[in-house]
């Protein structure tokens, strides 16, 4: 189990490095950082001066290496727009996004797992058909449109919830729903398939033959085994939520990392964008690593070997 964790960690670092390499090249090659930094009104001489000063005329590999060295010690450069440390910016905004993502995945799981279990217990029943129907609908619904509809409905017409900002917990309700609903269908279907499979196994038959009560058979014996692949899926979906958070946070003006991403992209703030890409990918990598480890721990055949 330790060697497994070690191997996965090394792989994770390699992946993170590769991602940052690719994004660095994409950003710094396709645009002119000197112009981005100087702003649109700068003169040619100013731009040239900046180029020399910041070494933008050096080969891209050298530039990347410099960036990497600084990044390793936590220095992600300075934002062109906000004029503060990128790492500060991100550290400031990330908690909001994390909170949102956590609420969203809990919402998705809380919605999807019970529906999946209920569908598996009674396949082809009404609840099964309703769940499948909802999941098909959910996957076709564009999130930004859903967000607008919710705003019109709950903020404007019913006046129950606030539209924008991130001051109170009520501000998080609609964003949570919008971010979470997209992950629910996949989780529901995986839970359903997994439970169906597990419920027809021999060891569930043994559990019933032992006279264990139905809730015990269902939740202790069946779900425990069926949930294993769902953990990985949930982690992956949680990772994807960072991408989704860009749209959601921008619509609801939630001051998280996603909103920051949109702000910095529209302002050509390269260091921030690069820093955010690094942060997002690291987050995803760590998340899947944890999910794999939880997986390995949940299954005694892997844990003990």
């Amino acid at each position: 189990m330790i060697s497994y964790a070690l191997k996965r960690s090394i792989l994770a670092i390699l992946v993170a490095l590769t991602v940052s390499m690719i994004s660095f090249s994409l950003l710094y090659i396709s645009s002119d950082p000197a112009i981005a930094m100087a702003g649109e009104t700068a003169s040619d001489a100013d731009i040239e001066a900046i180029r020399e000063l910041y070494g933008f005329d050096r080969p891209i590999v050298v530039q990347y290496w410099e960036w990497l060295k600084k990044a390793a010690s936590g220095d992600l450069g300075k934002s062109y727009y906000f004029r503060t440390d990128v790492s500060h910016l991100i550290a400031e905004r990330l908690p909001t996004t994390m909170t949102l993502g956590l609420c969203a995945i809990i919402f998705a799981i809380g919605l999807a797992v019970p529906l999946g279990v209920a569908s598996a217990i009674r396949p082809n029943s009404i609840i099964d058909r309703v769940s499948l129907f909802l999941s098909v609908m959910g996957q076709a619904l564009p999130s930004f449109w859903f967000a607008l509809i919710l705003i019109v409905l709950f903020s404007v017409n019913l006046r129950w919830l606030p539209v924008s900002g991130s001051d109170t917990w009520q501000h998080f309700i609609m964003p949570t729903i919008v971010l979470g609903y997209y992950a629910a269908p996949a989780i529901m279907r995986l839970t359903r398939t997994g439970m169906l499979e597990v419920l027809s196994t021999d060891y569930i038959r043994t559990a019933r033959a032992k006279g264990l009560r139905p809730p015990v058979v269902l939740f202790k014996h069946a779900l425990r085994n069926a949930i294993i692949p769902v953990v990985s899926l949930a982690a992956v979906q949680f990772g994807f939520m960072l991408g989704g958070s860009i749209v959601v946070e921008t619509i609801f003006a939630l001051h998280g990392a996603g909103f920051l991403a949109w702000e910095s992209i529209t302002r050509n703030d390269l260091p921030t964008v690069q820093g955010l890409i690094l942060a997002f990918s690291l987050f995803y990598i760590i998340l899947t690593l944890i999910a794999d480890l939880i997986n390995a721990w949940l299954d005694p055949r892997i844990r003990i070997g």
Binding site: T201, D202, R208, A209, G211, L212, V216, P300
Partner: protein, 348 residues
């Protein structure tokens, strides 16, 4: 009967199948006494496993069970609700399945799976439960018991897992154990050990044991009474000595003739077999179930003809002449005629 543990009368199991009905089991009756081993023998697909599931009310949802009497220790469990049945399962009736490799939950330790039965039925938990579990593991021959408790099923061999299953079933000291081909999936050497274990434990606890198998060797070794099943019906039943010495139904004779006996069989001689195939049990029967399978069961000698006495009130059921409990059943008149059995009238 004071020490009758199980009494099943006229059990039928029907399974709807794409428009038609599969009559998997057709009007069988069995009974088991305390301390007695009943072996149900038959080919795959004759309905033996379904019978055991029917007794436990664990049939798949689609299957329909019809039975006149289902009594455990004299009291009827026929109309028990699911809740009441779950009280019976595991504590009054225990079941051991065929596949030890997949019958235990891979995510929980042996201890966890054993102790939960005690908590469920006898409200024993914690240290006391653990102690009982250790004792039972030792009784089934697993040592060191304490270490094995902490292990997961994938760390145990097939034979060990089956022993754990047996121990788990015995924890609540059930009055009846149903073992569905418990040794089929194990090595031959382990088979003998497990069988011996079962018989020893049965004597110790005085439980009734239904042993389902297709292996006549197992029957010869372990049975007190035998019920031979074919195509969803019990065609012959009696004590194990009667069945082996005096098989009176053509199917039973066919089964016995399939066993190659070294010394008796000559080189180059064909091995015995029953020709034909088990008929499909879907829909109603238009012809004899045993049609086309007679083969050589009648033999040439006169002594192979069975002497039968009809049983009052039951169609096609006969007592073998001179016994009180050796019963033979034919599925139809043509079967009866073809068997050339001698029917003598009169009460036995």
């Amino acid at each position: 009967m004071a020490d009758q543990v199980l009494n099943v009368e006229n059990l039928s199991i029907d399974i709807p199948l794409s428009g038609d009905i599969l009559h998997a089991v057709d009007g069988i009756s069995i009974s088991v006494n305390k301390g007695e081993t009943l072996c149900i023998v038959g080919e795959s697909g004759c309905g033996k496993s379904l019978t055991s599931l029917a007794i436990m009310d664990l049939l798949p949802q689609k299957a329909v069970r019809t039975v006149d009497k289902l009594e455990l220790n004299g009291s009827s469990i026929l109309n028990y609700s699911d809740r009441q049945m779950s009280d019976v399962r595991g504590s009054k009736i225990g079941m051991i399945f065929q596949e030890p490799m997949t019958s235990l939950n891979p995510s929980f330790t042996v201890e966890n799976q054993m102790v939960e039965t005690l908590a469920r039925h006898r409200n024993i938990r914690g240290k006391e439960a653990k102690k009982l579990a250790v004792q039972m593991l030792e009784k089934v021959g697993i040592t060191p018991a304490k270490q094995r408790l902490k292990q997961y099923p994938h760390q145990l061999s097939g034979g060990l897992r089956q022993r754990v299953m047996i121990a788990m079933t015995l924890l609540c000291e059930p009055e009846l154990i149903i073992a569905d081909e418990p040794t089929t999936a194990l090595d031959v050497t382990i088979q003998a050990q497990i069988l011996e274990l079962l018989t020893r434990l049965q004597a110790d606890f005085n439980t009734g044991l239904i042993l389902i198998t297709h292996d006549l060797g197992v029957v010869a070794k372990s049975a007190d009474r035998v019920a031979v099943m074919y195509a969803g019906q019990i065609v012959e039943e009696g004590s194990v000595y009667e069945i082996f010495d005096n098989p009176s139904h053509p199917y039973t004779r066919g089964l016995l003739s399939c066993i190659p006996v070294p010394g008796k069989i000559k080189r180059g001689e064909h091995l015995g077999s029953i020709p034909g195939m088990v008929p499909s049990l879907i829909g109603e029967f238009t012809e004899c179930r045993f049609a086309g399978r007679w083969g050589d069961t009648l033999g040439k000698e006169e002594e192979n003809i069975a002497h039968l006495t009809p049983i009052e009130g039951v169609d096609y059921a006969f007592l073998v002449h001179g016994t009180t409990d050796h019963v033979v059943r034919f599925c139809c008149n043509s079967c009866l005629k073809k068997s050339k059995s001698k029917i003598s009238k009169g009460v036995n």
